[in-house]
Amino acid sequence: MDDIGPEVMRFLRTRVPNPQDVGDLYQETFLALHRARRTYKAPRPVEPWLFAIAGHVLARHMRRQRIRMGREVLVDSLPERATGDGGHARVRLAQALDRLPLAHREAFELVKFEGLSTAAAAARAGTTPGALRVRAHRAYRALRQLLGS
């Protein structure tokens, strides 16, 4: 727990803005790890297994959230505090990331959000550094098109 807990927390924090959701997802991830424990067998590297499960929990959360957002009704009165441009850009980026293939998105997030080296990111994604570079490059290109710059 001491070894992988902070890693999982960092993984979730970079992807989920709400700290309360991060806490919930952290717990859900460890529950899922507990239930899937028979699928891990040493000496396989633990990171691809761990982050595949964390990514699955996160994807399920995003899906639920998207469904919930689709059902929400816009209010007439604006909130007192404005979100600001940063918030708007963040939402646009999150929407653009949602439209990327999962592998490309993962490569982009590992390199850009978590600041991992190509080799470390490739180890976590369970692929080769070359393949990860290609995925990240495709993600940049798609994001540039989606964000229109």
Binding site: L31, A32, A36, R37, R38, P48, A52
Partner: protein, 218 residues
Amino acid sequence: MRTPPSHERLLARLIADAHPVRPLWAPHSRLALWLALQTLTLGVAVRVGLRPNLGDHLRRPLFLLELGALIAAGVTAAALALRAAVPGMAGGRVGLTCSVLLGAVAVALLALEPAASVHSLRGFVANGAQCLVCMLAFSALPWTALFVAVRRGAPLNGPGAGAYTGAAAFLFAAAAVRIACPIDEELHLLAWHMMPIALGAALSAVVGARWLERWDHA
């Protein structure tokens, strides 16, 4: 601080469930077991098949290639299904492409068989229905075994793992029915031997979406 009863219940359940577990066998070991079962299925097809001249057919390169492509596609799909049940081990696009390509090769090879005109729709459907029933019979046990094996793991993509499971079981069933069925006509083979594979995989994907992703739900 007193925790809510739901937390206490969850903790009690986790503590009760917190015994050491034996890790699942590696996907290739489980695949080998499943292939042993499929060898029996193919053996049954040879034994009970209605084809009178199987020996002659086994000397035809086209027939052997058809069987080879179906079996290779089935093995690939089964491997993908078992790997999909282990987080971080899913086959990805290369495996999927291989399986689809092998399936496409099988379809192309079957399309090379002589085309025959359908004289009676009733006869065409009656013969086809027999093959369909045989496909279901040959795929039932292997599909169940593979589905249970996948469900014992932790598939992250239920519909995908379900589709692979269905495709694997029905590809082998198609190979078994190809051995057993005496009709070598293009239209019959495509309609009644190949179409059920696609339908079986689609149905299995639906079942997978319902039953395979349940492992991580609270």
